[in-house]
């Protein structure tokens, strides 16, 4: 029984982190329609920005986190302006954009390893993740609670933004049909830039939280990205609510999977889940 609640808790915690990755990924996919494989490296950028500010320079952690999130957002915005928007203007194919994003990913990850070494760093000071609480017979750290709540808060915030504002309307218009959106006078280039900022900022936030929970490494991006992408696809690509649902499903399946098989197989388990979905339910849980 205790194992069961612990597995569920672990699944929810992992899911919350993946949900943050999926939110940003899906938001960006919705307006650009390409697999932005560089999305993961923004989590690493967020994590390292925070690391530099709060751990190395001793800035207040809330301020450090806020700036770290903004740095990730700006980096994502910069990648869009420098690379993707140029390619989009040329009507480059999805595959060209995908390969370019692989290039961005690789370059940024290499830059992080050169600047910060490839070593593993922890963000939390003191005992790992703060004090442990017991919840429904399982154990959860404070950091993990923060992860769960901020993930839900980000989703609600993003939903409110998309529902309630002119910006949200513009985003939805572009997601439906970019040509039409442009014809009715929406500055699609600018809105896409903002979307990159927001999506990347959320990824940066995920990176900081992941850093508190386990730690950061320049190569952390690929793992987080893949989880985000898989969550998005099994949830319904381009549908942000579906992505969150997919993330929690993925977190649970992974954690229940490793109940019986060793933990090192986690990544393989998640890809098997993806492939099963693509074969039997390619549109995901929630259709766009």
């Amino acid at each position: 029984m205790e194992i069961l609640s612990q597995l569920i808790l672990n699944g929810v915690i992992a899911g919350a982190l993946y949900a943050l990755m999926a939110l940003g990924f899906n938001l960006i996919y919705g307006v650009t329609r390409f697999f932005n494989l560089a999305h993961g490296v923004l989590a690493a950028i967020g994590g390292y920005a925070f690391f530099t500010l709060s751990k190395t320079l001793g800035l207040n952690i809330y301020l450090g986190a806020a700036i770290g999130v903004a740095v990730a957002g700006l980096a994502g915005y910069g990648f869009d302006r420098l690379v993707y928007s140029t390619l989009r203007k040329r009507k480059a194919s999805n595959l060209v954009l995908l390969v370019a994003s692989l290039g961005v990913f690789t370059t940024a990850q290499a830059a992080l390893s050169i600047l910060f070494t490839s070593n593993f760093q922890t963000l939390s000071s003191g005992e790992a993740g703060g004090s442990a609480l017991s919840l429904f017979g399982g154990v959860v750290t404070r950091t993990q609670l923060v992860i769960i709540f901020s993930s839900i808060a980000s989703m609600l915030g993003l939903a409110a933004l998309l529902k309630g504002t002119m910006f949200g309307k513009a985003v939805r218009a572009i997601s439906d049909d970019e040509e039409v959106a442009r014809m009715v006078g929406i500055n699609t280039g600018r809105v896409t830039g903002y979307v990159f900022f927001i999506g990347s900022a959320i990824a940066g936030f995920a990176g900081i939280l992941a850093g508190f929970d386990t730690g950061i490494q320049p190569t952390m991006g690929m793992g987080l990205l893949l989880k985000g992408v898989i969550a998005s696809i099994i949830g319904g690509v381009g549908n942000i609510y579906g992505g969150v649902l997919g993330a929690f499903l993925l977190g649970l399946v992974e954690n229940f999977g490793i109940w019986k098989i060793p933990g090192e197989w986690k990544d393989a388990v998640s890809f098997v889940l993806l492939i099963v979905f693509l074969i039997f339910r390619p549109q995901g849980i929630m259709k766009r």
Partner: protein, 288 residues
């Protein structure tokens, strides 16, 4: 001198990988992003058979080709359902899965410890243990791979592959069951990659999972995109440039400890620049 021999052998191994991957990406237009998996199967086949069981190198290579082609047959059967960016993602997923197998099937691969003591090839009492002999052997296999790739590319089969790349539905209407063609080229390509893997493990005399990550697959992709899609000459030139360039950086005074990161950074930038300025690469005739 040893250093030059070493680089030459590496160039040859990557040229074989490039040639084989180009058949799938350049000719057939499928963005296969998991080539390192098949490279790894060849490498492990040789390591396990020669180091642990004392089998002759050439027999182990044949076994590697068969194992890799067999794995490609199963994986390809799933992959053939996809195209475009989903193909890229799912093939990358299979790389992650196979990598997990290398890492976690301790009984067979010794996991992260790797397999040491892989002998150099020997045939009829001739040992290819010295650098020069090994180079000659590797060059022989490169020539063989080049001829095989050219044979495929110039056949009617090769023309059908290109038409699949251009418009799969249209060529189907003219009577080709394209699933079989895609599967066949995937299997051929995987078999060729296994040759490169066998050479690698016997040359380094050691094999561990870290050589067969997704990043390695991205590196091979960078080679063929740089050299030119659907250009066999381009694959060889691409391997030459992308393997040697980071070495040149080292001579320019960058520290040895950063070599791996520099290499990554360089080919990441190459990918971005190519997508922006020359998506068909150096000698390519096909744009993604």
């Amino acid at each position: 001198m040893d250093y030059i021999l070493h680089l030459a052998i590496l160039v040859i191994i990557y040229a074989i990988l490039g040639l084989s991957l180009n058949l799938v990406v350049g000719y057939t237009g499928l963005l296969a992003s998991g080539h390192a998996a098949f490279y790894g199967i060849g490498a492990y086949a040789t390591a396990i058979l020669t180091a642990s069981l004392g089998v002759n190198f050439f027999v182990s290579m044949a076994a590697g080709i068969i194992a890799s082609a067999g794995a490609a047959f199963l994986i390809g059967a799933v992959l053939s359902r996809f195209d475009g960016d989903y193909y890229a993602l799912v093939s990358l997923g299979f790389n992650v899965i196979i990598y997990s197998v290398f890492l976690n099937w301790q009984g067979l691969t010794r996991g992260p410890l790797g397999i040491p003591g892989v002998p150099r090839p020997a045939l009829f009492g001739i040992e290819f243990s010295s650098g020069v002999f090994f180079l000659a052997l590797a060059a022989f296999f490169l020539a063989l791979s080049f001829l095989a790739a050219r044979f495929v590319a110039r056949s009617s089969f090769g023309r059908v592959l290109k038409s699949i790349r251009e418009d799969e539905k249209a060529i189907q209407v003219f009577g080709y069951n394209t699933v079989y063609f895609k599967l066949a080229i995937f299997v051929i390509s995987a078999g060729m990659a296994a040759v490169a893997g066998s050479l690698l493990s016997s040359y380094i005399t050691f094999v561990d999972p870290s050589s067969f990550t997704v990043m390695e697959s991205v590196f091979i992709l960078a080679i063929i995109i740089f050299g030119g899609l659907s250009s066999l000459k381009g694959s060889v030139v691409g391997a030459l440039v992308l393997v040697l360039l980071p070495e040149a950086l080292r001579f320019a005074g960058f520290p040895q400890s950063l070599a791996a990161q520099m290499r990554q950074g360089v080919y990441g930038l190459f990918l971005i620049a190519l997508m922006l300025y020359r998506p068909q690469g150096l000698f390519g005739e096909f744009k993604l």
